[in-house]
Amino acid sequence: MSENVRFSLQNLTCAYSGQVVVRDVSLDIPAAGVTAFIGPSGCGKSTILRCLNRMNDVVPGFSLSGRVLLDGEDLYGDSQDPVLIRRRVGMVFQRSNPFPTSIFNNVAYGLKLHFKLTRAQLELEVEQALRAAALWDEVKDRLQAPATSLSGGQQQRLCIARALAVKPEVMLFDEPASALDPVATGKVEELVMDLGRRMTVVIVTHNLAQASRVADRTAFFLRGELIEFNRTVALFTNPQRPETEAYLLGRLA
């Protein structure tokens, strides 16, 4: 089991300016498949997600205790460079956030940051990333068009392509479809599942149906604590804890 664990959270406690939002969470996220974090708003699921690539570092007043291991290395260890971690652990946010530039430049941004590529290599990498995000066919004729000219769903897939371009080992999704219509949501979900077959994917969602559709495993959080973590099917059909059952039945706001 141990070699299959990608992230290992050990007694993770997080606080913003002294206010504890995540309390003593211990959790092993397997390397294969999609893991979903569910729970009501303010339960700390996004905070935990952002601990996985140290995106919380830039939030003023954030503090953390406990350990977060990525392949056995402590992410918050003294010798760790958050910049390198973020290259290994890609992230897609709740609202699509393309840079105000062309489609091509959006995908190329991370590549230019980390690699010295010729124009041809760059074009090839951009195409691969766009294909991996199932966006290539829709944008191949207008790569120089502004990214903001795309629809909301396309913009979100562009952000996924942008993250995939730097070849991360892990992809984190923070409610990636919450601002999208059902058709676009379906496409993003398909993409998440597809990626889950090739890499570690962690997705935060408030949409239970979405979690049940895309996730192999699901963790349920409540008030900053991990209540239950299990295979998705097991968690949804046979919850072990009364809080989980209450939440699944919609009795917990």
Partner: protein, 698 residues
């Protein structure tokens, strides 16, 4: 219920009307300001005009000249009686022996020379307005004559200051008569026959034109310089100020000559302009107000302007008009006399001949200059001074000042805004922003005062240290940055901000200390005679105490808050989500700021720079006090400048309403207004475009 709704609706209507009204008021006041400026500037384009006023019979007179009061002039009859019109006072010339055979006067009719039965008599004429009861009348005074017992003389010219000089031809020889006591002594000036001559007001230059040459003599009969003519001369006169001699000839040319002193003290007579026209030149009259002059040719009188070389106006006169041409003492009327005894009075409205598109913006050769220049010199010591109204030095000065201000403030404001918006803690930002914005509230007169009276002398005393600091401080800053990177890792998380600040400030202080300690020594070592001396003697750079560096610093101080505030806003308005996206892709905070935030905020930054530039161009008080106000065309950081705004502030209070300078200054105001309007509109447009651009992403 219905009543309450009605009231609410009425209130809304009122509010709407009020807001619309206020907006319209702002718009219309801007428009009115523009319209007012335009209204005051447009008369610059008014063309000059010659308009016939009256024709008077002056039969039997040998001379006529216009007087100072409207409609007035005076005549001299063959019997030697001077009549002042319209009052009709008649005075007989003292000691005259009629009949008169000829009479001439100088350009302004201060000296009158007559040829009577006994010889030549020269009178000092004074015709001044004075009150007789309630009425203003011309009061005539005539001195007792200077006498020369020389008959059959063709009089050429009279003039001089305290005592007269007379030129005349007798028997083919040109004589000069000079006053010795009450009589005139003759010297032979030239063995050739002169055709026309003029004496300057100081009485120390005599210009004599013969068949093919123009010669200048000093008052004692010494020859100074000679220049060839295109054709035999008919008339010679000096323009107002006595710098330019005009020679009219039989072929219709009017040539302009200037007398320059060459190296070694010898004189050079240079022809620098020629005005052509049909028929021989019969008369020339300089305007007593400007560098305009009237030319009489058969059937036509026209007024030309020397500097611009333009014909201002022309008017047809009878063919027989051939004896006299003169401007009234105030230049508003022109008198053309005919041999047959008629005098035509023309109203001469010359407009604003000093201000043409060519003189305002082009390179102009002014009187007394040997090259064309762009010069702003609106007022001089005497009435004869020609205003030099080139706007080029002022526009240049404005842009130079703004450029140096931007050179100082733009990088500082931009980097400060970048730091404050991207890297500073919330607490530091809460401090920095209001403090910088407070800077904007410092009255510009205080900034200007400190710059002019404290900074300028200090800078000239410590220029070496400042230049050294420009080199040392960036090096210390880079060292600080390098040291920040070297620190042990664990500090990075917690002590980051504070340590960086302490280290940077400390190193800056050390750098300043180094500069302070070593600058005098370095300066002594490199420039044994001092840096300013070195600049002056070796590089030929003159150092003005109030210069572009001082102005740039002071003006930059005023502009910095504008750029900082707008740039900070533009940078802060870049959505955090974009920074997060960049960070999540593995960019460092600095890389994210540089590669995502700055390009995304670029339109806002451009707008900030534009508005800052607009402010710098329009700023008045600081440049007025710190720039030295010399309208020079040098880009050197060590020389001053005169900006458009400062020029208006300095000169408008001195300019008489309606005169050319007044209108040109308002033209400068109009240009300034248009420029700041355009930069502001452009800046706001770009800023608005930016907001629209993030409308979706935010």
């Amino acid at each position: 219920m219905a009543g309450a709704r009605d009231r609410a609706r009425r209130r809304e209507l009122w509010a709407k009307a009020l807001i619309t009204g206020a907006a319209m008021a702002v718009l219309s006041s801007t428009f009115l300001l523009f319209a007012y400026l335009l209204w005051e500037v447009l008369p610059l384009l008014r063309p000059a005009r010659l308009r016939p006023l009256e024709t008077v019979a002056v039969k039997g007179s040998v001379f006529a000249f216009p007087g100072e009061l409207p409609g007035s002039f005076w005549t001299l009859s063959q019997e030697g009686v001077v009549r002042v019109r319209p009052q009709g006072e008649a005075v007989r010339l003292p000691q005259v022996a009629p009949p008169l055979t000829a009479a001439i006067a100088d350009r302004w009719a201060r000296w009158l020379a007559v040829s009577d039965a006994e010889g030549i008599k020269v009178y000092r004429v004074s015709l001044r307005p004075s009150f007789v009861g309630q009425e203003r009348q011309l009061k005539l005074r005539l001195s007792s004559p200077f006498v020369a017992a020389a008959t059959e003389v063709k009089l050429l010219a009279v003039g001089g200051e305290a005592t007269p000089l007379v030129l005349g031809v007798r028997g083919g020889v040109t004589y000069l008569w000079r006053a010795q006591g009450g009589s005139l002594e003759a010297v032979v000036l030239s063995s050739q026959e002169g055709h026309a001559a003029v004496v300057n007001e100081a009485g120390d230059r005599v210009w004599l034109a013969s068949d093919r040459q123009l010669t200048v003599w000093d008052g004692g009969g010494g020859r100074l310089a000679t220049a060839p003519l295109l054709a035999p001369a008919t008339v010679v006169t000096l323009l107002l100020g006595d710098l330019t001699c005009l020679v009219g000839d039989r072929q219709g040319n009017v040539q302009a000559f200037g007398l320059f002193q060459g190296e070694g003290g010898n004189f050079l007579l240079e022809g620098f302009a020629t005005f052509r026209g049909p028929g021989p030149v019969l008369g020339l009259a300089p305007s007593p107000r400007s560098k305009a002059f009237a030319v009489l040719r058969p059937g036509l009188v026209q007024v030309d302007y020397l500097t611009s070389g333009k014909v201002l106006a022309q008017h047809a006169v009878p063919e027989g008009a051939r004896t006299g041409l003169a401007f009234a003492p105030r230049g508003e009327r022109l008198l053309v006399t005919e041999e047959s005894g008629g005098a035509h009075v023309l109203a001469a409205d010359l407009g604003h001949p000093e201000a043409t598109l060519g003189t305002l913006f082009g390179k102009v050769r002014y009187e007394g200059y040997r090259n064309t220049t762009w010069t702003w010199q609106s007022t001089g010591g005497s009435n004869a001074f020609e205003p030099k109204l080139s706007l080029v030095p002022l526009i240049f000065g404005s842009f130079k000042g703004a450029f140096y201000a931007m050179l100082f403030s733009a990088p500082l404001a931009f980097l400060a805004a970048l730091y404050t918006s991207q890297f500073a803690t919330a607490r530091l930002r809460q401090w920095v922003k209001p403090v910088v914005e407070l800077l904007a509230g410092v009255p510009s007169v205080v900034v200007g005062f400190v710059a002019a009276l404290v900074l300028a002398p200090w800078l000239s005393a410590h220029l070496g240290a400042v230049l050294l600091a420009l080199f040392v401080l960036p090096v210390t800053l880079l060292t600080a940055a390098w040291l920040c990177e070297l620190r042990p890792r664990p500090w990075q998380l917690r002590l980051q901000e504070r340590w960086e600040r302490v280290l940077t400030l400390g190193l800056l202080l050390v750098g300043l200390g180094i500069v302070w300690l070593f600058a005098p020594g370095v300066e002594r070592l490199l420039f044994p005679g001092g840096l300013l001396e070195f600049l002056h003697t070796r590089l030929g750079v003159s150092y003005d105490q109030r210069n572009a560096l001082v102005t740039g610093f002071a003006l930059g101080f005023a502009v910095l808050p504008v750029i900082f505030t707008l740039a900070e806003e533009a940078l802060s308005n870049v959505p955090e989500s974009l920074v997060n996206a960049a960070l999540s892709l593995g960019a460092s905070r600095a890389r994210a700021a540089w590669t995502v935030v700055v390009p995304a905020a670029a339109p806002g930054l451009v707008a900030a720079l534009l508005l800052g530039f607009g402010r710098a161009v329009g700023e008045t008080m600081i440049v007025l006090m710190a720039s030295g106000n010399a309208p020079v065309l040098s880009f050197s950081p060590f020389s001053g400048m005169r900006t458009m705004a400062a020029c208006i502030a300095v000169e408008l209070p001195e300019a008489a309403y309606g005169e050319t300078l007044y209108r040109v200054l308002l033209l400068v105001a109009l240009l300034l207004f248009a420029f700041t309007l355009v930069t502001n509109l452009l800046g706001q447009r770009i800023a608005r475009g930016l907001r629209r651009r993030f409308g979706v992403a935010r």
